[in-house]
């Protein structure tokens, strides 16, 4: 029947009160006043509780347990009462039972022997006639993380998996991964994985959902795909999707997202079943559905189908921007991936990403990045207008970001450039200190991209030069002065003003100043002779920095031998820059778009990089016989020594070959400040462990055979120095019989284990990692700079030699922070005389906390800190190498400064350059 509705409906001022009688439920559960249990007398508290727990009066006993739990809640240790609390476990009051269970769960670790006492009750409860009690018992036992308890749990758990009540079955299903976590072998041996698989076929949707979650978790832990989805069973899961509750839908969708569809038809039929989920109120369901659809789209080629799917994905993505800020943040991080992966979906919606005044800053910053990704010839006017609005706001961080974004738009779109320059001019005219500084950096980028245009900005910039105090802005301004020296009348005066304070400037500025003055000299040689000799003298004779000195000498020699060639080199065309600060590496992007909503998709990092929890990956057993074969004979060893000797003679340059490949010669000379810092390098997201090519496929082995390439990295992984290598086979034969040896080295590293590497077919590659133990093969020589590990790999093709560079971080120990008492004597012993000071420039001012956490990444431990008058914070840190050398430092973090000062003191001076290099790298990587 259809009710015609009156519009407006009958007036009513208020809703009926919450409808208690209607629902037959208490609507408002007023004050319980459990708060009173938190008030206990100080004197003889534990003793008092003990007595009350043994009271005959049931109510009194229950109150006593509540008091115990209240104490536990506020963090007091009441584990001493374990036996007394367990004494109350035999009760038919369910509230009391839950409290006792909660207590046992919390303190079982502290009292393992006593915990066994409770086992019998658990086992008995697991057969109780009330399903609520059965579930409670299974659930709680699974949370007692004791091996002893696990044994007793198995039999009741097995029974409960077959329970007639679905509530018990769903609790048991989620209990299996708990037990797996404690004792994986037991779970596998006892066939619980099979039981869990059987539960996938259960008639109850919630049991299925929990079984899916359980299997997915165990798969993740053991590295095997237990869900084993195929065309057949995927449809069972899709069917369960309509039946289970919202969280269950997320478990199932997340599992389906790991399935590789078999082709276009399979993909389309999955998307048909999943698109309805896009209308779910729960954002977790929506994002999980988007993830599944995006994955299926990979396998669909029909452009019409793709277009329709893209059209369906747009509205839910935009709606996510109206959800709670925290959800929005996750969604925006995901949208960045989606925009890069499928730019079409949101191409015409840049307006939806305009910031609201009340958006939290973390949302605004993400939105601006997405605006820059979506900017196009059609919408740049609007975007620039909006960015200008933000750039005149009050939040410094956001204003800076907006100014930089204007530059990004200009670099990205040639047509937008004129407009962007005008906006920047207006902003420069405001003379707001940080706006001008950012604008300066941005204009430099624009000049790099579009040389010799938009010179109207030059005068405005020169006028506001006095406000520049940040290294990056200064360096940019100096670059501009050098580059346009011919067109700025007083360029020489302006540059000279910087020269007086040359030695006080950060390295970044010094380098630029050197280059700029050389450029100036080449353009106006008559009047700047003095300046150029002065700056060359400063750089080569007075500076202690190697890079600066090297560059100074290069210019000096160039100028003194062939000024014409110098002109071609220094004033030559520079390679064009591109804005790729947003683009992720393709492999990472593919990986992350299949992991939308997961933490990795928020951080834009491979999960392996932050999931520290050890996976119980089954270790492949190394064939003993093969291992014996792999012993090196004397000939090998001699060959290796020869190789090593040659390496050493070739000097440090050869070691760089691998890393600097790709940088053109021209670029090298302009490097340091501008040439290579397109915005991309500033904001480049953290990457996976960067392996470096250490052995090119063209380098022959000991017997002259080639076709084997290695890239490697030597890092610390979970407290163990580990050599990570990628072997590639470009020879025509399958490679096998791998073995590894390393040369003697200062820290005495030697492989802890045999090299386990599967056979490698022609054209494919394999990842291997070898844990290293220190102190085994000491060379008894001081460490080199950079640190090197010389490695020989034996294969069926040949024996290959190479060396791997590594950072000091690989030999610094975890958890070795010195106490203040230990710190002070060493600090004073080394004294001012043994102290080395080093400035590190960073891309933006950092606060002490983030400096601390970055230092911690390299096992540089925080000891203490103090604040000085100008607002700077001094952090004192210690680091310890695995051969027990300490490196102490005082790190000065000044507010608003783009550089960090590190004063290092150590009794092992040879470590200082290594330590400084490590920190520079850490802060450069952002």
């Amino acid at each position: 029947m259809e009710f015609p509705l009156l519009t407006p409906a009958p007036t009513r001022e208020t809703w009926p009160a919450s409808g208690e009688e209607a629902a037959g439920l208490p609507a408002v559960q007023g004050k319980q006043n459990d708060g009173k249990f938190f008030q206990t007398t100080k004197r003889g508290e534990i003793q008092e509780l003990k007595e009350e727990l043994h009271a005959h009066d049931k109510q009194k006993q229950k109150d006593a347990v509540k008091k115990v739990i209240a104490n536990m809640t506020v963090g007091k240790d009441v584990s001493a009462l374990f036996a007394d609390v367990v004494n109350c476990i035999q009760t038919d009051n369910i509230e009391l039972k839950k409290l006792v269970y909660l207590y046992v769960m919390n303190y079982a670790k502290a009292q393992p022997e006593l915990a066994i006492l409770a086992i019998n009750t658990f086992r008995k409860d697991a057969t109780d006639q009330n399903p609520l009690i059965r579930s409670l018992a299974v659930r709680t036992m699974g949370c007692i993380r004791l091996d002893q308890v696990t044994e007793y749990l198995l039999e009741p758990l097995r029974r409960c998996c077959q329970d007639q009540d679905p509530y018990v079955r769903k609790t048991s299903a989620i209990c299996i991964p708990k037990v797996y976590d404690i004792n994986p072998e037991l779970v596998e041996d006892q066939g619980f994985v099979e039981i869990l698989k059987d539960l996938l076929g259960d008639g109850n949707p919630m049991v299925v959902a929990n079984a899916v979650a359980g299997l997915a978790e165990i798969s993740q832990t053991c590295g095997k795909d237990l869900l084993d989805l195929d065309k057949g069973n995927i449809h069972k899961l899709l069917a369960a999707l309509n039946e289970c509750n919202e969280w269950g839908q997320v478990f199932i969708l997340d599992a389906i997202a790991t399935y590789e569809p078999s082709g276009p038809n399979d993909s389309e039929s999955i998307t048909e079943r999943v698109t309805a989920r896009l209308s779910h109120a729960n954002p977790a369901v929506v994002i999980a559905a988007i993830k599944v659809i995006l994955r299926c789209m990979e396998h669909i080629e029909n452009s019409e189908v793709l277009r329709l799917l893209a059209k369906k994905l747009n509205p839910p993505l935009v709606t996510l921007l109206s959800s709670e800020s925290e959800v929005q943040y996750v969604a925006l991080r995901n949208i960045r991936l989606i925009v890069q992966k499928r730019p079409g979906i949101l191409a015409s919606d840049v307006k939806m990403f305009f910031c609201k005044y009340n958006d939290p800053i973390y949302v605004k910053l993400e939105k601006v990045d997405i605006m820059c990704m979506l900017v196009s010839d059609k919408n740049f006017d609007q975007v620039l207008l909006e960015l200008k609005e933000y750039a005149s706001g009050v939040d410094v961080e956001f204003v800076r970001k907006s100014v930089r974004s204007i530059g990004r738009v200009a670099v990205k779109l040639e047509r937008a450039c004129e407009r962007a320059i005008n906006v920047l001019l207006e902003l420069i005219e405001t003379k707001v200190n940080y706006v001008v500084q950012e604008a300066c950096v941005v204009v430099k980028d624009i000049f790099r991209k579009y040389p010799s245009r938009y010179e109207q900005v030059l005068s405005a910039l020169c006028e506001s030069m006095e406000v520049l105090d940040e290294p990056e802005a200064k360096a940019s301004m100096i670059w501009i002065l050098g580059e346009y020296a011919g067109r700025i009348d007083n360029a020489d005066e302006l540059l000279e003003s910087f020269l007086d304070t040359f030695h006080d400037e950060p390295l970044m500025v010094q380098v630029q100043l050197l280059t700029a003055i050389v450029k100036l000299f080449l353009q106006k040689p008559s009047s700047t002779q003095d300046m150029v000799s002065k700056v060359l003298k400063c750089a080569t004779e007075e500076s202690t920095n190697h890079d600066l000195r090297d560059r100074g000498y290069v210019y000096w020699r160039l100028l003194s031998t062939n000024p014409e060639a110098t002109k071609r080199v220094v004033l030559g065309d520079k390679p064009s820059i591109r804005d790729d600060s947003q683009s992720l590496d393709k492999n990472l992007l593919d990986k992350l778009s299949s992991e939308l909503s997961l933490m990795s998709s928020v951080y834009h990092r491979y999960p392996e990089e932050f999931v520290t929890r050890l996976t119980l990956a089954t270790t492949t057993s190394v064939d003993d016989k093969a291992a014996q074969d792999e012993d090196y004979d004397e000939e090998d060893r001699q060959a290796r020594r020869r190789e090593v000797q040659e390496e050493l003679e070739r000097g440090p340059d050869s070691s760089r070959n691998g890393t600097s490949a790709g940088g053109g010669g021209l670029d090298l000379l302009d490097l340091g400040g501008v040439g290579d810092d397109s915005p991309g390098t500033r904001n480049a997201p953290a990457q996976a462990v960067q392996k470096v090519a250490v052995l090119p496929p063209t380098q022959p082995g000991q017997h002259g055979n080639q076709g084997f390439a290695v890239s490697a990295a030597f890092i610390r992984q979970r407290g163990t120095p580990t050599l990570l290598m990628t072997f590639s086979n470009s020879s025509p034969a399958t490679l096998n019989g791998f073995a590894i040896q390393v040369n003697k080295n200062p820290f005495g590293f030697a492989p802890k284990e045999q090299l386990a590497c599967p056979d490698i077919n022609p054209g494919s590659s394999a990842e291997v990692s070898v844990a290293m133990a220190p102190g085994q093969l000491p060379s008894n020589t001081p460490p080199t700079n950079p640190l090197l590990l010389q490695v020989a790999i034996k294969t069926s093709l040949d024996i290959f030699y190479f060396h791997v560079q590594f950072d000091l971080a690989a030999v610094l120990l975890e958890n070795t922070a010195l106490s203040r008492e230990e710190f002070t004597p060493i600090w004073q012993r080394v004294g001012e005389a043994g102290q080395k000071v080093h400035a590190i420039s960073v891309d933006r001012p950092l606060d002490p906390e983030s400096v601390k956490s970055r230092l911690a990444l390299d096992n540089v431990h925080y000891v203490a800190q103090r604040q000085v008058d100008d607002g700077s914070v001094l952090l004192y840190t210690s680091a310890q190498t695995l051969n027990n050398c300490s490196v102490l430092s005082e790190v000065t973090v000044s507010p608003g400064s783009n550089s960090i000062k590190v004063a290092t003191r150590t009794e092992t001076q040879v470590l200082v350059p290594l330590y400084e290099a490590m920190l520079s790298k850490r802060f450069a990587s952002g």
Partner: protein, 428 residues
């Protein structure tokens, strides 16, 4: 994918009020880290989901509490954040108010709920109406024998128990639309967006089957029904409560469902149409010659039908932080100066359609101006209002069919209202 290792509820200083360790992966003193990172840090670096040393933190703020979940795995971040919001909602429903005191006063129930709503880090039953059936406060405590898990917990219809009885069967439906609007200083609408919600209060017995009909353009098109122009509305995106059969909607755009009992949000929708400001505000600021006084002339105009009335209108206008001796003149309503928000609020109880009013405000300024005095101009003006019997999108409920096997008659009541959302007008 995996859930949370532990969940914490903390006060604003980062002190833990109550916590539950689900997986034992992350040490429970991890809250000290959280404290350093969120509570002691600057705004600019805080993120709602972040990772440190392999431990991921996801958190929300509710009243004066932090709700935090931590994990060591590559867990589903949206799932965790959405769960924290749901947890807050359930606790608020149980205790009326969710705050430090109410948790302390109900810590036993809080533990029970934490145990029931999440297991091994995976969200389980989070429907408050179902939870209430087996997790009760002392006064309604049942003995063990009476207590059973409601079948709804594991049912396909996990939001409603069987056997509900009401003396009077009725259902209330509120169509609430919020208008998000951003207007530039020159009067052009930069962004306008309507966020609508259908909120229900259902007091129906048994297991009623409901079908809701809206003037949904796509539905009309699908059924080939001819409609007069302007009578149907095209909603850009619709989100449904989990009771709605999504596959059915996807198929033929029928909204069919078995409702939960009591109050819930049936659906929400979004429209991205160009809307002219319902209440338009213009500010003329005269900083004066001597910089010792500042004068505002504010003009407010209602641009909806003259039959309608906007209730409880509040217009917020930012002023410099160092103004003094305010004086106001207005033809309607009252004006207050709120120093700690650096703004004046012009309140009008009832603002009829098609009217305009003027208010003038005068302030003194100290001779030594505050640094950055003009910063106030950066904040936009904002307007709050409620217009009953009116949806700005034109969405109307055409019918609500209620079918229950006992065959009772039930009365549907419908009400419409339009409110401000993020409704802002820039001053410069």
């Amino acid at each position: 994918m995996a859930g949370a290792s532990a969940v914490f509820i903390m006060d604003m200083k980062g002190k833990v009020i109550i916590s539950r360790n689900y997986r034992g992966e992350v040490p429970m003193n991890i809250t000290e880290r959280f404290q350093q990172h969120v509570i002691d840090a600057e705004d600019a670096v805080i993120k709602p989901v972040f990772c440190e040393d392999g431990i991921s933190f996801a958190w929300i703020q509710y009243n004066n509490l932090y709700l935090l979940a931590v994990t060591q795995r590559n867990s589903n971040a949206t799932l965790i954040v959405a769960f924290l919001y749901r947890l807050a909602e359930v606790l608020r429903d149980y205790f009326n108010e969710l705050e430090e005191e109410s948790i302390k006063d109900n810590f036993v129930i809080t533990y029970e709920l934490l145990d029931e709503m999440m297991d091994n880090g995976y969200p389980q039953t989070t429907e408050v109406k179902i939870l209430r059936e087996y997790i009760k406060t002392q006064s309604h405590q049942l003995s063990v024998d009476q207590m059973r898990p409601p079948t709804a917990v594991t049912n396909a219809v996990s939001w409603r128990s069987e056997g509900i009885k009401h003396k009077k069967n009725e259902i209330f439906l509120d169509v609430v639309e919020r208008l998000n609007l951003l207007v530039s200083a020159n009067g052009s609408v930069l962004r306008s967006e309507i966020l609508g919600a259908l909120k229900m209060k259902s007091y129906l017995s048994g297991m009623p089957e409901l079908k809701l009909g809206l003037n949904d353009k796509l539905l009309f098109e699908a059924t080939g029904r001819p409609v007069a122009k302007g009578k149907s509305v095209e909603m850009e995106d619709i989100k449904f409560h989990q009771c709605v059969r999504l596959a059915r909607f996807e198929n033929d755009r029928t909204i069919s469902f078995i409702p939960p009992d009591g109050e819930f949000e049936l659906m929400s929708y979004r429209l991205n149409t160009h809307v002219k400001p319902l209440i338009w505000v213009e500010a003329v600021v005269d900083p004066g010659h001597s910089r010792s006084r500042i004068e505002y002339m504010i003009k407010a105009k209602s641009q909806f039908k003259s039959r309608s009335v906007a209730n409880n209108v509040e217009i917020h206008i930012p002023v410099p932080s160092d103004v003094d001796s305010p004086s106001f003149k207005t033809s309607i309503g009252t004006v207050r100066y709120i120093p700690d928000q650096d703004c004046i609020v012009w309140s009008v109880k009832q603002f009829q359609g098609q009217k305009d009013y003027i208010m003038t405000a005068n302030f003194g300024l100290p001779s030594v101006g505050a640094e950055n005095r003009d910063a106030y101009m950066k904040a936009p003006m904002s307007v709050k209002f409620e217009i009953p019997y009116f949806t700005v999108s034109g969405v109307t409920v055409r019918y609500l069919k209620i079918i229950e096997k006992s065959g009772y008659q039930a009365l549907p009541w419908v009400r419409y209202i339009t409110q401000n959302g993020d409704y802002q007008l820039r001053m410069v």
